[in-house]
Amino acid sequence: MQLTQVLTYALRRLLQAVPVVILIMVGTFLLLKLAPGDTVDALVGDMGGADAAYIARLRAEYGLDQPVWVQLGRYMAKLIQFDFGWSFVYEQPVAAILWERLGTTLMLMGTSLSLAFSIGVGLGAIAARRAYSLTDNAISTLGLIFYATPSFFLSLMMILLFSVKLGWLPVSGLSDVAAFYTGWDHVIDVVLHLIMPTAALSLIYLSFYLRLMRASVLEVADLDFVRTARAKGAGETRLMIHHIMRNALLPVVTLLGLQFSTVLGGSVVVETIFALPGLGQLAYQSVIQRDMNMLMGIIFLCAIIVVIVNFLTDLLYARLDSRIALK
């Protein structure tokens, strides 16, 4: 792969995402307009009421008396600079709060998805190699149960077992605030706090990857090039790792990219249950507190993250499958 080739490919993929991002901007603007009340209503509510002339002057000041398309243009110009407006709940710019919360969510995403991907792919490959055996049935049944269990129910059951009955794991938060741990103690503390949220978020995706990987390995194992490799004397392990896995991984990587936005959505429930200070918990609180600017900021930021992740999985896909020409 030439570096310039990769760069042009990268640029082309990013250009394709531009209309999608613009559509999302228009979408969030429409949702804001549909929501009852606007910025001035919130301001006046904060002040405890004001007379009609003052409200009209405020509306003019915020540009709310302009035609809708002018407002849309201004809104989009602001969004491009990551200016999501003012949060009347936090009395701070939305962007400042979002940056504060982003790290926790990305950490939860990262650990959950890597766990789901590695274990799912591993178990899927094992199940496929021993297809229709007892091992395969056990793994497939486990996958079905993980798939059917909603993350919030799983979370409660884990809390019941590991926190209430056994007392092994902390129930909520990102770290023990009262303990003032430093260095490695702090790291271990955070890891202990993340075990249950990570498990709750990853198990359903683990089941997706498991099922897809199993089907994919079964399909690839039947192809001619595998038979050729076996005829030339490749051992089963080498056959699996060098010949089958690399090809069987392709659909799983596609799914990983496609599902990233769903995982971000799933973090709303998990972060709320475990009181993790991330974007998901913030989204839930914004709905309760009717903080629409915040909610739209979260939607836009999440969309940008998803676009970036999809772009990265595209690159990974191109690396795995050399048949895809980077034109």
Binding site: P19, Y147, L156, G265, G266, V268, L295, A303, V307, N310
Partner: protein, 292 residues
């Protein structure tokens, strides 16, 4: 050789019978059917278990299960009958699941059919819109829609359909792309069949089977989305819902875990029944796909 001894091929079984035979060969699919039947029966008999209001006070708060036969599965912290809520919850789950699935497939079929049939700029525009919907995390969009529309059961169903039509749209589009240049479509077009009839009468029936199988997935996801909303306390407060029961049960998890566990098992078994049914249906409709 007389006609009586001629070996004629046996009459083919009717398609529906053949389909059933292939479906019934799969034991997991039959289990799914039985579970699904149980949920249906629960939804149908909810009125017999509790004819007036499942959310009324039926006994002492936090009665343990199997101790009082007036409330066989016990009561929650407000004294509401868990069994009655479970049966009425089945009704809400199925109602939301079925309606949201039908609605999202309807949107998906229209978008996918137009994009796949016409191609060109229509396809470009519709696919960018689809990508935009797929890029926004669906649960966050669902929260935003519920915050704006309100959380009555009708709006929740509509909102779930709005966040889940993209997958069927992509499937229908892919089917249309491969079907639109087949000979039977060309033949119909040469006979002067209009575009509308081509889309809905000629191509759509051939494009639907994978979407029908996928409907079981959408149905399962819709039920999960509704219960997650209700768990967070954003569901319709006027109806019993499994998610809401679990959310309420969270407050008494330490002492009375059965309040959350009973509806939780109901959700797991319902979703399980859909995925088993879907897999069985897939194997029965595409017998060649299955190995062995």
């Amino acid at each position: 050789m007389t006609a009586a001894t001629t070996d004629l091929p046996r009459a083919e079984a009717a398609p529906a019978v053949a389909l059933w035979r292939r479906f019934a060969r799969n034991r997991a699919a039959l289990l799914g059917l039985v579970l699904f039947g149980a949920v249906l029966v629960m939804a149908a008999t909810a009125g017999l278990i509790e004819p007036t209001d499942p959310l009324r006070r039926a006994g002492d708060p936090l009665t343990k299960p199997f101790t009082d036969w007036a409330v066989p599965l016990g009561t929650d912290q407000l004294g509401r009958d868990i069994l009655a809520q479970l049966f009425h919850g089945a009704r809400i789950s199925l109602l939301v699941g079925v309606l949201a699935t039908l609605l999202s497939i309807a949107i998906g079929v229209v978008v996918g059919a137009l994009a796949g049939f016409f191609g060109g700029w229509v396809d470009d525009v519709l696919m960018r819109v689809t990508e935009a919907f797929q890029t926004i995390p669906n649960f966050v969009l669902l929260l935003a829609l519920v915050a704006i529309l309100g959380s009555s059961i009708e709006y929740i169903t509509l909102a779930i359909a709005i966040v889940s039509w993209t997958a069927p749209a992509r499937m229908v589009r892919a089917e249309f792309l491969s079907l639109r240049s087949r000979e039977f479509v060309d033949a119909a077009r040469n006979l002067g069949v209009s575009n509308g009839a081509l889309i809905f009468r000629e191509i759509l029936p051939n494009a639907l089977p994978p979407v029908i199988v996928y409907a079981s997935v959408i149905m399962a996801l819709s039920i999960l989305l509704e219960s997650a909303l209700a768990f967070l306390g954003l569901g319709d407060p006027n109806h019993a819902s499994w998610g809401n029961m679990i959310g309420q049960g969270r407050a008494v998890l330490r002492t009375d875990w059965y309040c959350a566990v009973i509806p939780g098992i109901a959700i797991v078994l319902t979703v399980l029944s859909f995925s088993l049914l879907g897999e069985g249906l897939n194997d029965a409709l595409n017998p060649r796909q299955k190995k062995q």
